[in-house]
């Protein structure tokens, strides 16, 4: 009897999970389907779900009009690079705040976060002027810097909460064995914090990949990442839904694949890795 209840529970939970998953994934699925429609079909009311003439012409048009292979590497460099730099800065920062807090640590943490409370557009013109004078407009390095800076607060906070979970006793033990701060960071702390660091990296890559305000405003063509590629297909006058969908599908494909693969690693890391 108990077993039957358990089975029923599992079935209900599975079905519920699938439904929730499908609902969350539906917009992306719909976008992918629309990208295979003709423009006339994409606008049709009522819309057809699967029974229509499938076509890949939108992908051909999109590739003909704008070079995907120019924008995709830019996105990878900017998102990957900004995450890397953010990590190099944030790991020591979070370490010091988690393990050697001073009287002002809490204030500093709040102050770091407060920079995220201002809308980005408020500093657009000053940043634009600085970028102009440093010749950073439309450069990958400039975008890398600004995305790194804008994501740093979240990265520091995430790492701080992960590091806080690690028992101090382990660090003390390593110190007793004569480990220096550097060795302590690399050999003791980092391995234990891997799941936390990994999920922070993934989140930061996704944030940087999707960032549309700074990438749109500070790049023109050379450094333009995939956000600019998508933006060039949006239009208030004219039929561009299918092409926009094709461009969007192309733009999210790499990050979707990355998320897919790292998801397993992340879940494993979270359940097996940490000392709790």
């Amino acid at each position: 009897m108990a077993r039957r209840v358990a089975v029923a529970h599992t079935v209900t939970a599975t079905v519920a999970a699938w439904i929730v998953g499908f609902v969350i994934f539906f917009p992306i699925l719909w976008m992918a389907i629309t990208s295979f429609k003709t423009e006339l079909e994409a606008f049709n009311t009522p819309p057809s779900f699967l029974l229509f003439q499938w076509t890949t012409e939108n992908y051909a048009t999109v590739q003909e009009r704008s070079n995907y292979l120019h924008h995709a590497p830019n996105s990878i460099i900017i998102a990957g690079g900004s995450t890397l730099v953010a990590m190099v800065i944030a790991i020591p920062a979070a370490w010091s705040m988690a393990f050697v807090p001073s009287r002002r640590t809490r204030d500093i943490l709040l102050w770091i976060l407060s920079t995220k409370m201002m809308p980005a557009v408020g500093v657009l013109v000053p940043i634009y002027l600085i970028f102009r004078d440093l010749a950073l407009l439309d450069s990958r390095i400039g975008l890398l810097c600004i995305l790194c800076l804008s994501n740093l607060p979240i990265v520091v906070w995430m790492l701080f909460t992960y590091f806080k979970e690690i028992p101090k006793d382990i660090l003390e033990a390593s110190r007793m064995d004569g480990a220096t701060i550097g060795r302590e960071l690399v050999y003791v702390l980092t391995p234990m914090a891997v799941p936390g660091i990994a999920s922070t990296i993934l989140l930061n890559v996704i944030l940087a990949w999707n960032e549309a305000f700074w990438t749109l405003n500070l790049s023109t063509s050379e450094a333009a990442p995939l956000t600019v590629f998508i933006a060039s297909y949006s239009s208030p006058e004219g039929l561009f839904w299918a092409k926009l969908s094709a461009a969007s599908t192309l733009a999210i494909a790499p990050i979707l694949v990355l998320g897919w693969f790292t998801q397993r690693q992340l879940v494993r890391g979270l359940t097996f890795g940490a000392v709790k």
């Binding site: 606008f43 009009r65 002027l129 063509s221 333009a224 060039s232 239009s235 039929l239």
Partner: protein, 401 residues
């Protein structure tokens, strides 16, 4: 010895290669994502073939994003763009700020006098051309000739609002999902405000009086808004307040609107059998009036201009000269057919028999443009220039609210 000569020759060749590379001028052109612009992008190779020293990089963005992006760059003199696509709203303001290079060297065969007078006036300041019109548009009524015939109605060439409202109510058949009139309802300057401000002009309203006092509480505005809301409730499609240009275009093309008042460029979409189910049943008429002398139509031209910060003015002038010339029109006609040439900028196009034959909407487009006067938009005198906008910097904010 031989290797030395080889190395020398090689380096000379390399040097020569680098000099030609540096002689290349790379133009960065910012433009909107509209059909005619995309077509221009596709024809770039014709320009680069004729001007071997120049390469072209395109930045295509949606209208509102582009406006913000380009304004930031030009206000800070960022120098990121060499050619800008701007509307009639920006030209007088930016010219006054000295943000644009006057276009007086567009080439001998440019024929500036061929530009439609109303359009030319809209992109000039102090008698100088500050932007070259790429395509011009007004707004007009597109209607279903079959539904009108069935109901025994006859659309006059210059209909009044009373006629339009009456016809819209008669033609509405909610069980068959046919609605008398489709109008923009989505909030925003480029959306319903474009339509409402033009409609208000025909009702005798104005945005500001001569002393720059806002006039929105006046009886004319009230009448405009009450008429609009009542009409949309009685004869509009469901959910009209979320409809913009694209949504109405889809509705009209699907045969669900008996009338649609919108941009003249829509005419080429609704008469294109590849996109429209009612392509052969569309008629055109001037935007409605109330007998006060102003029709409910606007005037707009997407134009190409050179920002004052550009270091490649000469190459930019060459590009603008190419893209807005008569020979560009012929190039499009040869490659894509006459119906696809950018409309609304040149008198000669409306005298071209091939174009008039291919574009059944040409006559009404021209009449609509001619009937719009941005220097004199309202029935009463006003201190501003512009029909569905007032050419003051603050309007970007006002229009969106």
């Amino acid at each position: 010895m031989r290797t030395t000569v080889g190395v020398l020759l090689g380096s000379v060749a390399l040097l020569a290669a680098t000099t030609t590379a540096s002689a290349q001028t790379a133009l960065t052109i910012a433009t909107v994502n509209n059909g005619d612009m995309i077509r221009m992008q596709g024809l770039t190779s014709d320009f680069t073939a004729k001007n071997p020293g120049i390469t072209v990089k395109w930045v295509t963005l949606e209208e509102n994003v582009l406006r913000q992006r380009v304004t930031t760059d030009i206000a800070t003199k960022g120098g990121q763009f060499d050619v800008l696509t701007i509307g009639t709203y920006e030209v007088p303001i930016w010219a006054k700020q000295k943000w644009l290079v006057p276009l007086d060297k567009l080439g001998a065969d440019y024929d500036v006098d061929d530009l439609l007078p109303k359009i030319r006036a809209a992109v000039s300041a102090n008698g100088k051309l500050y932007a070259a019109p790429f395509y011009g548009e007004s707004s007009m009524i597109m209607y279903r000739t079959d539904l009108f015939a069935k109901a025994g109605l006859n659309m006059p060439e210059k209909p009044t609002w009373d006629f339009v409202i009456d016809a819209a109510k008669k033609l509405t058949d909610k069980t068959a999902e046919v609605y008398g009139i489709c109008l923009r309802g989505k909030a925003g300057w480029g959306e319903n405000m474009a339509f409402l401000t033009a409609m208000a002009n025909s009702f005798g309203a104005r945005l500001f009086d001569e002393k720059w006092q806002p006039q929105f509480s006046g009886p004319e505005w009230k009448k405009t808004l009450v008429t609009y809301v009542d009409l949309m409730k009685a004869a509009g499609p469901p959910g009209a307040s979320s409809n913009g240009f694209n949504e109405n275009l889809a509705l009209f093309n699907a045969g669900k609107c008996a009338m649609w008042i919108d941009a003249t460029v829509a005419a080429s979409f609704v008469t294109n059998p590849k996109e429209s189910k009612v392509a052969d049943k569309v008629g055109f008429a001037l935007a409605p009036n109330t007998g006060l002398g102003k029709n409910a139509n606007w005037l707009w031209a997407w134009s190409l201009a050179i920002p004052a910060g550009s270091k490649k003015v000469e190459a930019a002038e060459k590009f603008i000269g190419w893209a807005t010339s008569k020979s560009y029109t012929e190039l499009v006609a040869a490659k894509e057919g006459w119906a696809n040439v950018p409309p609304g900028t040149r008198t000669s196009l409306y005298r071209n028999a091939d174009y008039l034959k291919a574009a059944p909407f040409a006559k009404l487009t021209l009449a609509s443009i001619d009937s719009a006067d941005p220097n004199n938009p309202a029935v009463k005198p006003v201190p501003y220039v512009g029909i569905q906008y007032a050419a003051i910097p603050e309007f970007q904010g006002i229009g969106t609210r």
